[in-house]
């Protein structure tokens, strides 16, 4: 793999839990992200998949510098992002952008579309009024909208068009990495395919990298080059997306594939071997965090945490079975 654009190493984020109104004793930690490693190459899409509460969003917040980590580093272009200051910090904020799930709440209803897209440019560049408008028109065309929609307000657009506006805003500043936090979950089926195709097309023409966060296996597998499966703050398995679909190794990944909905009624259906629900990250199980729900659990799974192992080229699994 070429030099990674973004490199996450040993990332941890613990949130303290307090009790009592006045004394505020600290009683425990929520281990939202607990030792996560991955890298994203230029022009690559890494899919991050997992159920609610597994730490996907906390990971994205750490990358977006909205949280400070408890331990670990994130390097962008070889530089530790948590020590960035001044011009370096501005450059990082310019080159890493985000698109959220719900385009109804992520766009200000009081701003015109042109102003929404121009805002990051006003902060980060010294473009003239005219050059700014040209840049806005250019990114609107990139995402498949007419440049003359700039003076309209977000309420005049449908959900799919709003998501295009959000993508245009993320692209405005010569972005190199976009964090896509469930960008199609809130959209209608027919619009979902439009946005997915648009994202793939943009990556091919602009070479931008994506971190695609989602919970729908088929969607994430379709758009991603590689997939990281997260469970309770840790990465259970990381592999090439086609390789992962063909040979899921971790029992949790296998369960996710069993739970995935079929694309045809004749597809073989297996009953889900998984019982129970995701335990709370407040008090995660000892050893392997998946062992209370795992159909293949062995006695030592309860004591020893598995270390990620590279079982095939570019395919790492954290499980005692391998």
């Amino acid at each position: 793999m070429a030099a990674p654009l973004l490199e996450v190493q040993g990332l941890q984020k613990y949130f303290p839990v307090h009790m009592g109104l006045f004394l505020r004793r600290q009683i425990a930690w929520v281990k939202a992200v607990d030792g996560v490693d991955f890298a994203i190459a230029p022009g690559e899409t890494l899919g991050l998949i997992g159920e609610s509460g597994c730490g996907k969003t906390t990971t994205s917040k750490l990358i977006l510098l909205q949280e400070q980590p408890t331990a670990g580093t994130i390097r962008f272009d070889g530089e530790d992002i948590f020590t960035l200051q001044g011009q370096g910090l501005l450059r990082y904020r310019r080159e890493v952008q985000v698109v959220f799930q719900d385009p109804y709440s992520s766009l200000s209803p009081r701003m015109r579309v042109g102003d929404i897209i121009a805002e990051p440019l006003e902060i980060h560049t010294t473009l003239s009024r005219h050059a700014l408008q040209e840049r806005v028109a250019h990114v609107l065309e990139l995402v498949g909208l007419q440049p003359d929609v700039a003076p309209l307000f977000p309420h005049e657009f449908s959900g799919g068009q709003r998501q295009r506006i959000a993508i245009a805003r993320a692209l405005a500043t010569n972005t190199r990495l976009i964090v896509l936090d469930e960008p199609v979950s809130a959209l209608d089926v027919s619009i979902r395919a439009q946005i997915m195709n648009q994202l793939e097309h943009l990556q091919q023409t602009l070479g931008v990298s994506y971190l695609f966060i989602g919970h729908d296996l088929a969607t994430v597998a379709h758009i991603s080059h590689r997939i990281a499966v997260m469970y309770l703050g840790q990465i259970a398995e990381l592999a090439d997306s086609l390789e992962l679909c063909a040979h899921p190794l971790h029992p949790y990944t296998q369960a996710l594939f069993t739970a995935a909905l079929p694309s045809h009624p004749d597809e073989k259906r297996q009953k889900l071997a998984l019982s129970g629900e995701v335990p709370s990250a407040l008090n995660p199980p000892s050893g392997c965090r998946f062992h209370p729900r795992c159909p293949h659990a062995m006695p030592h799974c309860a004591h020893e945490a598995p270390v990620p192992k590279e079982v095939a080229p570019q395919h790492t699994v954290a499980c005692h079975l391998y």
Partner: protein, 333 residues
């Protein structure tokens, strides 16, 4: 055997601005459902799926009215029932499961009170037999240690458990038909799979018929026997799930099936161009023609009629209405 539910030419409209503006949310919908069957009602937001279901149970908002058609349920026309009688049918014979369990459970009442209510009113159970019935229902939806958990309140339960409680309430009156309006949209994938398996098991045990309202064709493939595809207030195609997945006749069904990603395949998705239409301002002719890859001049002016193939496959499209041999042939030319 006559079907459990027979909806014929149902029309529901919204009347706004003092009745000066009429929006036809459901426009001539017909389908039937036998006991033990599952129907998937699929469509994009705003196509009239939910209005169809609310018409069935008589819970339409004040601005909406059923203006035509019949809903025959166990031999009786529900559109002619006074509200008092509908109250007895709802909860006892027809139950509904809604999308958001936190919004359909009352946060101020215990699980016991809420699950017991339909059994109290519709089956007349009291005292110990009522308590036993509630425990039985909670056990049926796989709530562990029901005698303890029934004293809990909704906020003490996880999302998957709350949705199972809503399922227990739906089952409490011993219904013949359950209408499930996107019941798993808010659930995680593994929890969703557990919930769908549970509904299947319950259906096998009780023989209840289910209408599944969803926009997820994967759920239809897993759960349903019949599929009805709705677009702009009309059923554009309906039939057996396998037939429609194998050889869809309507371009919209075809496009929907082509737009869902398949696991382990990187084939480009078919994106339906444009937006779903606004029901208040529908295009002339076939409502799908502005987005249709096979649109012909006739589609823009005349509305296609419902054409029947075999016993239960109906399509509304000019392509199959030409009595020609090649259904899609003329479109590519």
């Amino acid at each position: 055997m006559p079907p459990l539910l027979q909806v014929s030419d149902l029309q529901t409209s919204f009347f706004t601005f003092g009745g000066t503006r009429v929006v036809k949310a459901v426009d001539g919908v017909s389908f039937s459902l036998h006991a033990g069957e599952t129907l998937g009602l699929v469509g994009e937001s705003g196509c009239g799926k939910t209005t169809t279901c609310l018409s069935l149970v008589g819970l339409l908002p004040p601005a909406a009215r059923i203006v035509g058609g019949r809903i025959d349920f166990v031999g009786e026309d529900l559109t002619q029932k006074p509200p008092g009688e509908m109250r007895h049918i709802r909860g006892r014979d027809i139950a509904m499961i809604l999308q958001d369990p936190m919004a359909s459970l009352n946060p101020l009442f215990s699980i016991y009170t809420q699950v017991a209510e339909p059994a109290y009113y519709h089956q007349g159970l009291r005292g110990r037999s009522l308590r036993q019935r509630v425990q039985e229902l909670l056990r049926a939806v796989r709530i562990p240690s029901p005698e303890l958990r029934m004293r809990d309140y909704p906020h003490q339960m996880s999302g998957g458990m709350r949705q199972r409680i809503v399922g227990a309430i739906a089952l409490a009156g011993g219904p013949k038909l359950i209408i499930a309006d996107e019941p798993t949209t808010n659930l995680d994938v593994t929890i969703q799979a557990q919930y769908l398996d549970l509904l299947k098991d319950i259906q096998q045990e009780t023989g209840v018929a289910i209408i599944f309202v969803t926009h997820n064709l994967g759920i239809v493939a897993r759960m349903c026997d019949k599929l009805a595809v709705m677009y702009a207030g009309k059923l554009v195609e309906q039939g057996a799930v396998r037939d429609l997945f194998n050889a869809p006749k309507h371009p919209y069904t075809k496009a929907l099936l082509g737009s869902i990603p398949k696991l382990g395949s990187k084939e480009p998705l078919y994106a339906i161009p444009g937006q779903p239409p606004n029901l208040a301002n529908l295009p002339a002719g076939c409502a799908f023609h502005p987005r249709c890859a096979y649109a012909m001049p006739r589609c823009t002016t005349h509305e296609p009629r419902e054409l029947r193939f075999g016993t239960d496959w109906t399509v509304r499209c000019w392509l199959v209405d030409q009595a020609d041999k090649e259904p899609y042939g003329s479109a590519t030319a």
